[in-house]
């Protein structure tokens, strides 16, 4: 007899915590739907979540632990896999030291505290992650300027809200928030090289040339200072290095900035007047323009606009990040310390990273390290989630996986990394594992898994098994199993997992004492204790290229002047499409099939000049290589700019981006401002 049911559970496809409704038949999901509202959890299922059943039941899902034997894989038991991997890790540590093992964490981030502890007690400095191209550069710039890795924009108390390079279309409720902000009479400034749903509702859209955000910020600062609109009192009391900064921005005249950024002088002046006109909060995307060779400096320049106008640390501006009232261990704050950080695989190439993001390493050079055995030989690569498309010239990561002596990849799908691994371990998707969620309003909830995971395990459970097999200890690693881990994450709430499971609607944590929010007196944890116009951390390394203590604008157009003669277009990769989450959903025909062809986007004027029409085949060339794409016309782009989605499964455009084209401070690749040429295929 068939058994139908309706369950509320977690989508979690993108690493978020959206509650969804699921219809089930005999334990299988038949369809999902948005909940009208959920009292405690976000309920913003999106286009990706709508394809959840195709994601969960995809034939490429890894179902069992698999071991490489020759050129093929055989199914093994969890016991055999774990004991074999543990024995290998202990043996190589004995022979070559712990640093010869790299522990890599892909996305999402919920298991990182456990994983960092595993790497730490094993003794390796090489705990690294996808944040090497995503979050860390933002955190670095914030840390350098503000002494805090993240500041939260106050969208309710502000008069003006600035969104600097972020497109909320298809994201969890952001567009609704922006519409509400506008409806409340607040002004909206959007900085984006591309016209989006958000730029359409903006009071001012600054359509900046890719990678020139720093020049724009410095130019706006110049107008503000020239007008005498800076917040003198704030600057005197809370900042360091203002005089040098003021001298430096004088060079950024509206005329010059207009030429660099492609933004009319009138709009630069208008932006300055708006930013100086009241309480301003700003939202910067996590990576966007940080993926450029001057990314950290550009974001420093943007953040310093807020410092210049006193729009930081107080109501209506950007406030020091308020930790959620109920703090669990599922966000990667306070990671275990890395031993010997200066001996990690980056070997001090990015010293400012080590000074600011010290609990994980920069792994942008992972392929070089493994292939060249420099600074030392990496023997083991252990990965929980590994997408080779994250790196520029990711084909070299595949080569590195082939070369490294031993690799373990825990993944959802059989991907390119799995194919080269020695062990492939199946991870549960979020809908396949129980979760403790800390919701709104001091509320804790136990969210039961939607479907049976079969032989797959939660990543954390695998980490615990490895730690137990190696006799490694730590507060997380000493938990006997996944349930005990969940219970441990709740240790500061006074509630046990058993108690929580007994109350499906969850429990209010009335007695919790949220950490005291930081303010201007307690929150500025820079070396000088002030917001730094001149970075005293970067100053320590000012003999290195690009390490200017001031937020100096280095133009990538100068760096690539020679290449631009042959490759005159600006190539921007990494801008998102709502139905993809990087390359996590390209396998799902319902999503990848929304657009028939893998495409590059250019404006109609450029297309006409090149003799191209929508749907035509075109060859995209960079100094590194060529790929063929279908042409899509997008008049939301300025002439000379090419947008290509980064990895849609068929083609990975980041294969064409020079692996050495990096921000010298963060090590981030220049995905958002490289060069290319386009011509009609078959010519």
């Amino acid at each position: 007899m068939s058994d139908t049911a309706y369950k509320i559970g977690m989508c979690g496809l993108c690493g978020g915590q959206c509650a969804i409704g699921a219809n089930l038949q005999d334990g299988r999901i038949t369809s999902v739907e948005r909940l009208k509202d959920h009292p405690y959890l976000p309920s913003d299922i999106c286009v990706r979540g709508a394809a959840l059943k195709q994601f969960l039941y995809h034939p490429d899902r890894i179902q069992h632990p698999m071991k490489r034997v020759g050129d093929s894989f055989v199914q093994v038991s969890w016991e055999e896999a774990v004991s074999d991997i543990a024995a290998r890790l202990l043996k190589t540590r004995e022979e070559s030291g712990a640093k010869s093992t790299v522990f890599y964490a892909g996305h999402p981030k919920w298991f990182r505290k456990v994983y960092a502890e595993l790497s730490s007690v094993y003794g390796s400095p090489n705990f690294v992650s996808e944040s090497s191209t995503c979050r860390s550069a933002t955190a670095m710039a914030n840390q350098l300027v503000c002494g805090s890795q993240f500041l939260t924009p106050d969208t309710e108390g502000c008069d003006v809200h600035v969104v600097w390079s972020s497109n909320p279309a298809g994201q969890d409720g952001k567009m609704r928030q922006m519409n509400a902000l506008k409806a409340a009479g607040k002004k909206l400034i959007v900085v984006d090289p591309h016209k989006t749903a958000l730029t359409e509702i903006a009071d001012l859209h600054l359509q900046v040339n890719p990678g020139t955000d720093g020049a724009l910020a410095l130019g706006i600062a110049n107008v503000i200072i020239s007008g005498g609109w800076e917040d003198r009192e704030f600057i005197e009391k809370y900042t360091y290095g203002y005089e040098e900064y003021r001298e430096y921005v004088k060079g950024f005249t509206p005329e010059k900035v207009s030429q660099i950024t492609g933004i009319p002088i009138r709009q630069i002046n208008e932006a300055a007047a708006m930013i100086a006109s009241g309480k301003v909060s700003i939202r910067c995307a996590n990576c966007a323009f940080l993926q450029g060779i001057n990314g950290v400096q550009n974001l420093r320049a943007v953040l310093l606009l807020m410092v210049l106008t006193g729009n930081i640390g107080i109501k209506g501006t950007n406030k020091f990040m308020k930790m959620p009232p109920v703090k669990l261990d599922t966000f990667h704050h306070d990671l275990a310390e890395r031993p010997d950080i200066w001996d990690d695989i980056s070997r001090g190439e990015f010293p400012v990273w080590n000074e600011t993001i010290n609990n994980e390493g920069q792994c942008i050079r992972l392929a070089d390290v493994i292939l060249n055995e420099k600074p030392y030989k990496v023997r083991n690569l252990i990965a929980f989630g590994m997408n080779v498309g994250m790196w520029p010239q990711g084909d070299r990561i595949v080569e590195a996986l082939k070369k490294v002596e031993f690799s373990v990849v825990t993944e959802l799908f059989w991907n390119e990394a799995c194919k080269e691994a020695d062990y492939v371990l199946p991870a549960c998707a979020a809908a396949e594992r129980d979760t403790v969620a800390a919701g709104k309003k001091n509320h804790l909830m136990f969210v039961e898994r939607l479907i049976d995971p079969g032989d797959k395990l939660p990543d954390v459970e695998i980490m615990l098994m490895l730690a137990h097999a190696m006799d490694l200890h730590g507060p997380f690693l000493d938990q006997p199993d996944y349930d005990a881990y969940m219970n441990y994450t709740m240790r500061n709430t006074g509630v046990t997992l058993a108690e929580l499971k007994a109350v499906p609607e969850g429990i209010d944590i009335r007695n919790s004492t949220p950490p005291k929010p930081l303010d201007l007196e307690s929150g500025i944890h820079t070396p000088t204790g002030k917001f730094e116009f001149v970075s005293t951390i970067i100053e320590k390394y000012s003999d290195r290229p690009g390490h200017d203590p001031l937020p100096v604008f280095n133009d990538w157009h100068d760096r690539l002047a020679e290449e631009m003669k042959e490759f005159p277009f600006t190539l921007v990769t990494g801008s998102r499409k709502p139905w993809f989450f990087h390359s996590r959903t390209f396998r799902l025909p319902w999503l990848s099939g929304l657009e028939k062809h893998t495409s590059l986007s250019i404006c109609s004027n450029d297309a006409e000049r090149l003799g191209l029409k929508a749907g035509d085949k075109a060859i995209l060339s960079t100094p590194i290589g060529i790929l063929e794409y279908s042409v899509m016309i997008d008049d939301g782009l300025k002439s000379g700019i090419v947008y290509v989605y980064h990895d849609d499964g068929e083609q990975n455009v980041n294969l064409l981006i020079d692996k050495d084209y990096l921000d010298p401070i963060s090590g981030f690749p220049g995905y958002r401002c490289y060069v290319c040429s386009i011509e009609k295929a078959g010519r």
Partner: protein, 134 residues
């Protein structure tokens, strides 16, 4: 009854298109046809995005009259639906429809919005409230 889209609110994320497929097909269906159709449009500013539309469930639906095998009918609550067991794939409905709505699956059968028994999955999922049931 019909579903209308406020294209000003629509951000072009296509959640409605996929939610429609999710509601009507098993995950193994690679050839799924959505009842919500979409096309790329460019606004006066150059902003380019997808907008969607679906069957208007017309009061005097010409497709009902055009169907030679009476596969198309109206439900008591006003939705115009197609019985795919009866549809012969002749595409007469497509010729009759003034809005170019009927689409045909690889088995030749017509597919279009059926109103999801009065609680459309596209309306439910729309993240910005662009879709409404009228």
């Amino acid at each position: 009854m019909r579903i209308v889209s406020d294209n000003k609110k629509c951000v072009g994320c296509l959640a409605c298109v996929v939610a429609c497929i999710d509601h009507h097909y098993p995950e193994t269906e690679k050839d799924a046809v959505s009842g919500r159709l979409y096309k790329l449009t460019t606004g006066p500013s150059g902003f380019t995005k997808y907008v969607t539309e679906s069957c208007r469930h017309c009061e005097n639906a010409p497709c009902i009259d055009a169907c030679p095998v009476s596969a198309i009918s109206r439900t008591d609550s006003g939705w115009v639906i197609v019985d795919q067991d009866v549809c012969i794939g002749c595409q007469a409905c497509a010729s009759a429809c003034p809005f170019d709505i009927p689409r045909f699956r690889s088995d030749g059968k017509m597919f279009k919005c059926d109103g999801c028994e009065g609680d459309p999955s596209c309306v439910k999922i729309c993240p910005n409230g662009a879709l409404k049931l009228l």
